[in-house]
Symmetry: C2
Subunit: 386 residues, 2 copies
């Protein structure tokens, strides 16, 4: 990537902090022994992970024994959903998810239908939030798991996970609640000691300037869960040689982003507000704000009238401006299920793009973006209307 | 690790090639965009993986569409076994494994008992090889999968996977055969175009001087298999953002080790022979060769009379010599299931250690190792006999 490129796709993946790149380099060179080996070289590798993990867990206010490192957010989501389901298989059980889940939650839940689970989907209300009245009707004594994202990867809609966790447990004390926190870790305060009714939480490294191929799953003590990758490591729940450099890189990234969390939040909040104002002033009736106004400052989803988002995305890409047409995971499969369930006007539904920020983005970049949109949008609309 | 340290635990993990460390660094710095994103930055990341994967697949003589990158050997083994089982769930079906499988194969198979699968275990014959007569009796029309290691991680015993694959298919054309090739990739010739009856094969990166947290699973076209990590990437079978630097590092490691495969093989063969001769001359009746003589040159398992292996391992570790008491994955759980099923004399069973080589090991290191054993063994035997 060069300085001339404008990267507005930070919800898909982020640049890796320099310190993290250097640390990975050091670990790969000096600590290659298997952290499970009991000789001194193995113990040295394990100690690298141990001290970094302790710091990671302090930030989340959990015990290290409650955190298992995985290969990423998708594995964490699969782990949470499948392994809770397989440990609690009884007849006529159901799982509740929201309509705005990432494919690694939604498709995993539907996969479980073949094992006899009923999948129930809770929709959004007119304000873009989870419909709590509907949720109360969906959760019953046969619900073993509810899974929702903390921040929706496509729209940035923020879910009140504390409130939802309390609602669920009030209906069914035994029902587990899993939160996909892939888009909120390092961006929103997450203090798990204050969330007594949250049982599982998924995290990803490469969304917070850490390396790819690493994630984590928080599992509250006493949650009845099967192992996901079976073997012998990690308390029997997730086998596989611990990825020393990946895990240490992830932990270092969290410690850096956490220190800057509040200032980053304010910075992106100002940037998002600036972008919305500029868009409104440039396109007024030709844009539709898909994201709720009170959504995450890191994500803005907007739809243009009479535009195909992939065409706009490609045109912007030619000008070295990188945005997304939804979540990267949906990018090759057309309009997402999430957007389909929202009340987006017909003229706009195909023209939704996602702009997602990190600390490096600036108002100058937003200005260049708007300038390019002013040129491209009328041209592309003309093309579609023909 | 310093030059004074002797690392004989290469079956647990290996040093990372310098070129690989540098390449990971470059990818982490320059190609951070999500390889699934459709803008130019995403495409550039994807291209990095594509060209390296093509080279990887050429070495194995397979099509790129048949290979899925995973988070490591344990995931690949879990993926192969669970996902074939879940895609072929019918009553009274069985799965056949050998008695020398890695925990990520053996424990995964036993996990499937709760879903109704019967697990059958094939033992070794007196020569330390899979008992083919027993195998023929175990495989029947209800067998959906046979899984064996190519090279046993604990003893280095080499399995004739071609012969076994032909035996299985002669009995039951529809039975799938999975090979755990974690200890053979890069060390033994693997040309999958010559193995028509092999359906799945697992690989790991960090056993061949690549990074940890990466592996791969070969899946022959038309194998009926469920997705393992569900979401939307990788043909729907393994979701999760592609780990660009990890995958590229793995591919580069394979291309380097493959070029040196034959010379490495001869070198370690000479080294293993030298070690066996020196051990025999130094300890004669006090050692028992656990590994078959025709085993992999990279692995030697020997047992000492009246010794506890973990005590010896620790004593050697104090002298900066690193060996293993079995596979690293078993290292904290006592005598392995594999060794228990072998005919190891009672006096020796607790004293088995594994020495595993790579290209950097030398006869000088073997000399220092023997010298230290000459000092330690009588002392430790005295301790046990007291």
């Amino acid at each position: 990537m060069t300085n001339k490129e404008i990267y507005f796709d930070n919800a898909a993946s982020t640049y890796i902090y320099d310190e993290v790149v250097q640390h990975i380099n050091k670990i790969n060179t000096e600590f290659f022994a298997n952290p499970s080996s009991t000789h001194l070289a193995g113990i040295s590798s394990f100690e690298q992970i141990k001290k970094m993990k302790e710091n990671f867990c302090e930030i989340l206010h959990i015990k290290p024994s409650s955190l298992i490192f995985t290969s990423g957010g998708a594995e964490s989501n699969n782990f949470a959903i499948k392994s809770v389901a397989f440990a609690n298989m009884l007849k006529s059980y159901n799982i509740v998810i929201s309509s705005y889940e990432h494919p690694s939650v939604m498709n995993t839940a539907y996969y479980l239908e073949k094992f006899g689970f009923e999948i129930r989907v809770c929709h959004l209300n007119e304000f873009g939030h989870l419909d709590l009245d509907m949720l109360k009707k969906l959760v019953d004594n046969n619900t073993i798991l509810v899974s929702t994202a903390h921040v929706c990867s496509e729209t940035g809609s923020v879910t009140d996970i504390k409130k939802i966790s309390d609602i669920i447990k009030a209906i069914n004390r035994k029902c587990y609640y899993h939160v996909d926190a892939v888009q909120s870790l390092g961006k929103f305060p997450i203090n798990l000691s204050m969330y007594n009714n949250i049982d599982l939480m998924s995290f990803s490294s490469h969304k917070i300037h850490g390396p790819k191929g690493v994630g984590a799953l928080y599992i509250k003590p006493k949650v009845k869960i099967d192992p996901f990758i079976i073997g012998s490591q990690s308390a029997g729940l997730r086998a596989g040689t611990l990825n020393t450099s990946g895990i240490c890189g992830f932990c270092l990234a969290l410690s850096i982003i956490d220190k800057n969390r509040e200032s980053n939040y304010i910075k992106t909040q100002i940037l998002r507000k600036y972008l919305i104002d500029e868009l409104n002033s440039a396109f007024s009736d030709d844009i539709f704000l898909v994201s709720p106004m009170d959504g995450s400052p890191y994500i803005l989803n907007i739809a243009f009238r009479s535009i195909k988002s992939e065409v706009l995305l490609n045109a912007l890409s030619q000008k070295s401006i990188y945005v997304s047409s939804g979540s990267a995971c949906n990018s090759k499969t057309g309009i997402s299920k999430t957007l389909k369930t929202m009340n987006i006007p017909k003229d706009f539904i195909e023209g939704a793009i996602r702009i997602s920020f990190c600390d490096l983005n600036t108002t100058d970049e937003v200005d260049i973006f708007i300038e390019n949109l002013r040129e491209l949008i009328p041209m592309l609309q003309l093309f579609v209307r023909r």
